[in-house]
Each structure stands twice: as C-alpha cells, then as structure tokens.
Symmetry: C2
Subunit: 446 residues, 2 copies
Amino acid sequence: MQSTATIIHARWIVPVEPDGAALENHSLVIHEGLILDLLPTRDAQQKYTSQHVLTLNEHALIPGLINAHTHAAMTLFRGLADDLPLMVWLNEHIWPAESTWVNNEFVFDGTQLAIAEMLRGGTTCFSDMYFFPDEAARAATLSGIRAAIGLIMIDFPTAWAANPDEYLNKGLALQDRYRNNPMISTVFAPHAPYTVSDEPLRKIQTYAEEIDIPIHIHLHETDDEIKGSLEHYQQRPMKRLDKLGLLSSRLLAVHMTHLEEHEIQRAADTGIHVIHCPESNLKLASGFCPVDKFLQAGVNVALGTDGAASNNDLDMMGEMRSAALLGKAVANDASAIPAATALRMATLNGARALGLDNVTGSLVKGKAADVVAIHLGEIESEPVYHPISQLVYATSRHQVSDVWVAGRHLLKERRLTTIDEQNVLEKTRQWRDKIAASDEKIINVR
Amino acid sequence: MQSTATIIHARWIVPVEPDGAALENHSLVIHEGLILDLLPTRDAQQKYTSQHVLTLNEHALIPGLINAHTHAAMTLFRGLADDLPLMVWLNEHIWPAESTWVNNEFVFDGTQLAIAEMLRGGTTCFSDMYFFPDEAARAATLSGIRAAIGLIMIDFPTAWAANPDEYLNKGLALQDRYRNNPMISTVFAPHAPYTVSDEPLRKIQTYAEEIDIPIHIHLHETDDEIKGSLEHYQQRPMKRLDKLGLLSSRLLAVHMTHLEEHEIQRAADTGIHVIHCPESNLKLASGFCPVDKFLQAGVNVALGTDGAASNNDLDMMGEMRSAALLGKAVANDASAIPAATALRMATLNGARALGLDNVTGSLVKGKAADVVAIHLGEIESEPVYHPISQLVYATSRHQVSDVWVAGRHLLKERRLTTIDEQNVLEKTRQWRDKIAASDEKIINVR
C-alpha cells in the first residue's frame, strides 16, 4: 500500500482524454499536487492508502474548467448597464465607469470576487485581460487558482499606463516577476485590432517570440469592427494581423464572428486558437462564431465567459451548455458539438490554447490535480443515462461540490477554503454603493 | 392590525405589473390563497399581523414562473439520446422508448419528477402535452402545483387511445372531471399539423369553441415540417390551420420558427399566442423564432422548456435567460428582449396564453399567491445594480429558496413540502435501470 495525499473514489470519472470516456466506479489518486493514478476503485483500495479519502457515490469527477477569456475585475460592474447596443454600452457606461473607478484596489477586489465565483463553479484556471494585471496575479496567487495573466496593451492612456511603451514595459516586468511561478503564466494581451495600432502589435509579436509566450486578442467580435478596419486599414482585421505576422499557434483569437470561408481555412493553416464566448456574443448581438466549421477545419476551439459586464456571469458550466446548444443551431445540425466535444472545449482545448496542456486540461497521470467533483444525484440531473450528456445538458454550477487546484482542496463541500466569502461580499457591496451613488447616469438607465 | 395567513417582507419585489417595476423594501400579504396586499414594509408592519412572517433581506419576490410548453413525463427520458438529428432522435429513440414504456405509472412517476424539478426552480404552473393526461393531472393535484393539462390528440394509436375519436372522448371526459377544479385547467392538445389530420382538427376547433378552452399545438417547429406540409397539403402548416379556422386568441402555437413576414402579421391579426422554446430549438437545430418581430407586431410571446428529452431540463430561469440572449442575437440588436420583457414572457405572458391571467402571472392584489423568492445575496449575483437584470442574467434556479402556489408553501428553504424527494429519486433510478437495461440500442448510441 502506497501512502498518498488524497484519494477520491467516484461514481464516474470523465478524464476528457480519451475523448468521450466515462469511467464508472474509478478512483483518482493525488500526490504532491499531481495525478498519481486513475484506476478502478477496487484496485485503488488495494494499492493506495491516504489520510484523505473521499467517497463520492453520486458524483462525477472532471478536469477543472478553463475559462479562456475573461476580464475578471469587471465582475464589480456586473449588471451595471444591460440591454444596450455594444458601442453605447462601451462608450457611455463601461469606459466612463472604468476611467472613474479602475485602480489597484478595484482590480484586486473585483478579481477576488471573480475567482470566488469561478472556483464555486468548477473553474480552476482563467485567462484574464485587464488593467493592473499585477493585482489580478496577486489575487490569483492568494486564492490558489491557476491563471494566465494578460499583459494588457491599448493605444490610449489609462490609470495603468500612459502609452504603448509603458504598457509594454510594465507587462514585461510582470512577466519577469512570475516567470518561475508554476501557477501564474503570462500572455500578451493587445486589446483589439481597432484599439492597438501596428507598431505596438509588431513589438508584441517580436517579444512574444523571444520570450515564448502566447498573444491574446479580441478579433472579429462585430461587423462594425470589420467595417472600421476596411475603412482605416483597407483590409479586414484578420488579414491585417496576418500581414503583421501574428497568425500562428501562439495566437488566441477571441470571438471570431463574421468570417469568410477562406478565413476559417487560414485560421486552420496558421494554427491559431479560437476562443469562443457564446453568451457574450448573443447578449451583445455581436454575431455567430462558426464553431462547427472551425472544428471540422481542425482549429482548436476553447471557451470563455468574457467579462461579467457582458454575460453576466463567469459560469463555465453554463457556457459549455450554451456552446453546445448554439453550435448546433448555427451549424443547422443537431449532431454538431456533441456533449463530449463541448466538455473538451471547456477543458483540454483551453489548456492547449494557453500552452498549458502539459500541465492541466485532462485527468491524466502526471498532470496537475486540477479536479472538479459534481453532484449528479439531484432531482435536476436524474435519471443519468450518459454522464457526459448529463454534465453538459442538465447540470448547473451549483452542483459543483468540491474543487482541487494542483491538489489543493480550494472548494470543500461548497465552502471556499482560501477566500473569505463574507469579506468578499462586504467589499463588493461597498463598491456597489460607491459606483451606483456617483453615477446618476447609470442609475437613470432604466 | 388585520390578521393574515402569511406576510413576506422582501428586499425587492418585482410584480411584473407594472412592467419593469422593482419595488425596494416592500411586503406581500397573502390571505386565503390570494394576494391581499403589496405595500412598503414600514406600512405593512403597521397594518397587518400574521403567525407566518418571513423577512427576506437579500431576496427578490417574483410571480411564479409559467412553463407554457412541456411534456412533463418525458423527464424520465432525460439524456437518453442526445446529439442526434431530430428525426433520428424521434424515430429511432424517443418513439420506440415511448411505445415500450409509456403507461399510467410511467406518466405519474415522470410527471412527479418533473413537478419536483419545476417547483425547485420557481415554476408554479405548467402547460403539459402528453399521453395519460389523467395521471399528469393527478400528480399535479397531489403536489399542489397549478397545471394546464393538454388533452392529447394524434392520428396514430398509442397505449392511451386507439384512434382520434377515443383521444377526443377521453380528453372530453377529463375536461369534464376537472371543470370545477381551481388548480387544473384543460387545453386541447393536437400534437402537430404533421401528425393530426383535418377531421380531428375540425372537431377540436368545434369543441374548443363550445366549451371555451384553448388549443395547444406544435407549429412550424422545423423546416422539414413545412416542406412536408407543402408536399401533402400544398400549403404551409400555418396556412392550413388558418383555413381550418384554428388561428385565434384561443391558439397556443409552440415553436414558430421559419416564418415569412406575412405569417408574423397574420399571427398578430388573429391574436394567436406564440410559445417560444429557445433551448429546444437550439438543441434540435430546429430554427430560430423571430421573437423581437413577434413582440413588435403585438403578438403575445410566452416561454416553455419543451420536454426534458430535448432540453434537457425544465429550468424556466435558464429558459428566460436563453430567450433574452438568443432574442438579441436573432434580432441583431443588443437592446431587444430586455430583462423585464424576458421576465414578463416567463410569467404574465404565459398566463395570458393559457387564459389564466385573471388568476396568476403577476403580483397584483386579488390574484392567486403564486410567488417565488430568489436569493440574490450570493457571490454569483453580486453586486446588484438592477434586480431585474440580475434575476434574468445572473441568477440560477438553485437560488430559488421558497415557492408558494395559491398561498401554499410548496418549497420551504429549498425543501419540497408536498413531494417526498427521496422517494422520487428512488423511483426515477428504478425507471432508469429498466429503460437502460432493456434497450441495447439506446446503450450503444455512444
């Protein structure tokens, strides 16, 4: 009998690799933060011992969900200004609110709220794009969640940086500070083709190759973005990035709606990753991402929630379901984006996009123990014929009972172990009162 | 001080009438199953007394949700055969399973499971279409939920009836049995234009006028349905029903995708009600319902989940959110289907469609006390700027804490008071084992 850190006996384990497998009465053995073994429970009981044994007779274990695109701190703006056209929402509400409120404290508190929400919903890794990324990295580190922190770049000045060079330098300093941290990776995050000009994009491309990190950008989010690019650059945004040399397996292209067939093929040929945010695309009426076509062309498609200001939650279980449902309708084929594919998009594909698939994204020996237990024994999820169908189509994030990240038990029977929930709620309400009171325009939206 | 049955002091009350109102620190007073008063809490404390006083400082009260289209008993087939084309799903899985399993006991047990799920998710009234409607009515009555029971009609024989005349006679007998029951109404439910021929539709139309009850039918669900109708009847399904005299304010037309502009106008002119099932339409890739166009034309649009075999849940909170998100994308307008409209579709519009708007659908004095309390003080729903936005875009059915139907407290701090949950789960698992074991074809789908 080998002594180990934690053993979880589960009714089902869905490892995501191999695709579509749903193992019954299996056990996951965790040691030193890693997955030491995954085997039938009867074998595990003979081979391993531990002081921490969980028996989950009505649960499925899945790999931790990976939210491949969010703006975590914006959770403090959740529901501030809904049901508005994209540019009115941005110009008249979100950007003014950001210029008034965004500072170190806002980003730390907002990111902590976001992490609390994400961990409670089974997300163990998130890819962030926001100002004061040092504060997001600090909040992530304190909570124990895994994060890919975006090194934001935008042409105009903000409280975080005055000009492209300052954005770049602050980003590089952050990258250097975290380069040996196993839980925090860094990713260049130029905001979008319409907010970042050629010169900073070229510099980012050069540095990204030199220090070998990904680039994360909003791309083809709306028809207006494409029209604007044709007007200012006489080419579509994707073509412009192509000419600048940015289309490669290093690129995470977020949204990707309004595409021509040759662009889908070009995405496949260059190996870019598509980060699909179905609920944000629907809510902002941005357009439809042709997910099934991308998958058929061999493109890696991962999922993100986008920020809570445009979703309005950070619910990867819900996003996975929306991706499956919407993907079928857009493909006009009920067999498109089957449940196992949606689950892979929400886990392993996100890890691949972030260059973390050697570390996380599936329950495979040697990977980090980023694991989520989900209770399928509730009225809402019974009867269970096919656990993967049930996880994707009939299970809510409130059924997530336990979450481990790198073997640390961060959510234990629905209680967070590293974040003080009451404190987060109190700070959130203080921000709410300040933001609501100062902004008459926001209050008078309705 | 007037003594009353129940007083609920709430942080917010969203009565749905008037549209968009979110009353802060108000109280709802319930007496003899009805809403006696709705007034500011400071006034309620002086005017009313009760042995049952609830103070819900972090909750919103809303009218009970109305699921305007489902096949409740099919919850026992939840997740049996996913990710398949509509006709393969129906012909090779659902219809064979139905012909093997559907009987009195199946319908009672399945409907009870469905009711447990619906009550836990804030649904206080459902409109059902299935075989053995007497068993559905019995399960509803035992639970205390409000129901509009469909009197099913279909050309082919089933375990419930051998031919159209038997369907009709059994339906009329059921209607007669429940005609004075305040909680159960009846609705003719011819399955669809492609499964019910002209003669039974004419009879239904005649009887519906005579006994003054609605008619509930699947209409324009798929492009195939329309093509088939053009082939067999040389006209589109809606045109055929029009000629048969069925288009009137008595008709609930479920799905309504693939429409021409003149058909939207005809829907408005005839006063039919559209029952929109966004998640079923997405999952089966049926097509898109032009909800914004219907609303702009003045058509009453309500919401349904459809059956759990094609959704896969009976979650009206989720359906409301999906309707708002999808409605914006289909309209290509982020300001379409704002939150208050989605909430009205899920409540008052459903009551109107079912002819029950004098009884339920909004929190108005004199209506039945069909009320839902939802906890907005969780991490997932904070901060709260606009409670209606939060309810629609950032709240899950698991945050429903309490449900009253006609003043009866059917869900109390998330526990059902009239249904034995453990018993329902046990029966559900027994059905699951039987259905899965006997149907090798089903097991081998994956």
